[in-house]
């Protein structure tokens, strides 16, 4: 195994990852019906969530939790675009592979499963940018007044933020799937993840709707806001440019933590498989 893996250093490995990303991009380009259905669902939820946050601000405020009406609309609609790009919910393929034992073939390859799956996911996200990201935003722009970034640097910062959000979301999904190494099925953790990522991550309403201390604790102490809330806050330019950079720093921190956690859990899972005689 050591001899084989040394062959995969350097440019050959980079090409392998690029190939995986390309495959991810192409595979998801064929899911047209599913993409259309998902966009329709995103749009429905966009309208529903807008109604709720507008009802809050129309209770007599110009600004609520630091957001004005246009910013709230942008938050909701770009948020819906984010769901399909970072992919909050995906079928637990990896967990199924663990349960059936197919994961052993993944482990025989010299490429670490975590990086393998990440490369494929980034390819998928790249394709999703053209469909699931832009479509809800287009719908929102037609029916609501959205706020475009005022500072040109924000576009770059948002792109960075979106990339990091995708990686953190991938990591969380990986961990949820990896629970299958120890639990009989990943349904429980998957449910917990779906709820936490929405409620605590900024999908139902901005995290800043929570009391200040709670919101700060969530943003710094959990990965969920790094997936939805922080990219959106960067986009609507909440606070100063320094504030945007601070949010990016928090996301970068969570990228490091989550990926380290994924590698660690994967090692533990592999060890368990070996012990079981897999």
């Amino acid at each position: 195994m050591a001899i084989v893996s040394s062959m995969w250093r350097g440019p050959l490995r980079a090409r392998a990852y690029l190939a995986l990303a390309g495959a991810g991009f192409r595979r998801h380009a064929t899911y047209r019906q599913a993409t259309f259905a998902a966009v329709v669902t995103n749009s429905v939820f966009g309208f529903l969530r807008c109604a709720i946050v507008f009802a809050v601000i129309d209770a007599g405020f110009r600004v609520v939790a630091g957001y004005d009406r246009a910013q709230l609309a942008t938050f909701v609609w770009v948020g819906q675009g984010l769901i399909g790009t970072v992919l909050i919910w995906a079928p637990p393929d990896f967990a199924d592979r663990i349960r059936t034992g197919d994961v052993v073939t993944d482990l025989l390859r010299p490429v670490d499963p975590v990086w393998q799956l990440l490369a494929v996911d980034l390819g998928r996200a790249g394709h999703a940018m053209f469909t699931r990201f832009v479509a809800p935003i287009a719908v929102g722009a037609i029916f609501s007044h959205l706020q475009a970034p005022r500072r040109p640097a924000t576009y770059v910062l948002f792109a960075l933020s979106l990339l990091m959000a995708t990686v953190v979301c991938f990591g969380c999904r990986f961990l949820v799937n990896a629970a299958a190494y120890w639990l009989l099925d990943a349904r429980g953790p998957q449910m917990g993840w779906t709820i936490a990522s929405g409620f605590l991550g900024g999908l139902f309403f901005p995290v800043w709707f929570f009391p200040g201390a709670v919101a700060t604790a969530l943003i710094v102490g959990t990965p969920f806001p790094s997936i939805i809330q922080l990219p959106l806050d960067v986009l609507i330019e909440r606070g100063s440019p320094a504030g945007q950079l601070a949010l990016l720093a928090v996301q970068a921190g969570w990228v490091a933590i989550i990926l380290a956690l994924c590698r660690f859990v994967q090692r533990q899972g592999e060890r368990k498989l070996v012990v079981q005689g897999g």
């Binding site: 019906q33 529903l48 709720i52 009802a55 809050v56 917990g192 409620f199 139902f204 309403f205 929570f210």
Partner: protein, 257 residues
């Protein structure tokens, strides 16, 4: 069949514990959203916490009951794609009955229990008088609401008979419906109201019954009688869903799969 399922499920003790935690999490989510919103705004389109809490409780209970009864129908998409549905169609029992008995999730039961608890607390918080009328409304409303949700579950799952990959549209109507019914329909625009509130009948799951329970006038100017129309709406929804389902099964059989 159901008892065997329950017993085998209870054997997986860790999974069971997770299921219980899952139910509590859903409950936290359902009530937490309302609490967070009212922390910032005193009213939502002239409706206060007392009213919205009751609406949310009614909606959540109805949804949880429907989910427990027919929630598995959303798996139809998986069965159609994998061909498992053919095995189901061969058996003499009704297709829908088989699908729903396949997986009695304890987690769904937990969610219903939480919903009922929420309903009791909401009713107490609103100081509902314990008259026969209020009690009847409190019991009938979630049942009628569950039938409406169940009808939506079945009807939207039927999409899988025609467009296999489009199943996700169902989520907009099922979970979207749950979201829609938790709040007064006055917060939504006229187009959204026409589709969700009246065509599908979601307004009768929680909004109109709450107006009746708390003796509130309808800001939309609807007649008082609407508040008691929930059972009729439920009946209409169930009939429509049954027809759609039958058409779907017939179409699937007809395509010679």
């Amino acid at each position: 069949m159901v008892v065997a399922q329950v017993r085998s499920q209870a054997q997986y003790r860790t999974s069971f514990a997770i299921d219980v935690v899952g139910s509590v999490l859903f409950g936290v989510l359902d009530i937490g959203s309302v609490l967070v919103l009212f922390r910032l705004a005193p009213t939502l389109r002239s409706f206060g916490f007392r009213e919205v809490f009751l609406m949310a409780a009614l909606a959540v209970t109805a949804f949880a009951a429907a989910d427990l009864a027919v929630g598995n129908v959303e798996r139809l998409r998986v069965y159609v794609r994998s061909g498992l549905l053919d095995a189901v169609l061969v058996r003499p029992m009704g297709v829908l009955v088989q699908l729903t008995a396949l997986d009695v999730a304890l987690r769904r039961l937990g969610r219903l229990v939480f919903g009922i608890a929420m309903l009791v607390i909401a009713a107490a918080h609103a100081h509902l008088p314990l008259t026969p009328r209020s009690l009847a409304l409190l019991v009938i409303t979630p049942v009628a609401g569950a039938v409406v949700f169940g009808a939506v579950f079945v009807a939207t799952a039927t999409v899988a008979f025609w467009w296999i990959e489009s199943g996700e549209i169902a989520n907009g109507l099922t979970y979207g419906g749950l979201n829609f019914t938790q709040y007064p329909i006055t917060i939504y625009g006229p187009a959204l109201r026409r589709i969700f509130a009246y065509s599908i009948g979601f307004a009768f799951v929680a909004y109109y019954p709450t107006l009746a329970l708390l003796d509130l006038p309808d800001p939309l100017g609807g007649p008082v009688l609407l508040a008691y129309a929930a059972p009729l709406v439920a009946l209409a929804a169930a009939t429509a869903a049954a027809l759609i389902w039958r058409t779907g099964v017939r179409h699937y059989r007809g395509t010679g799969s």
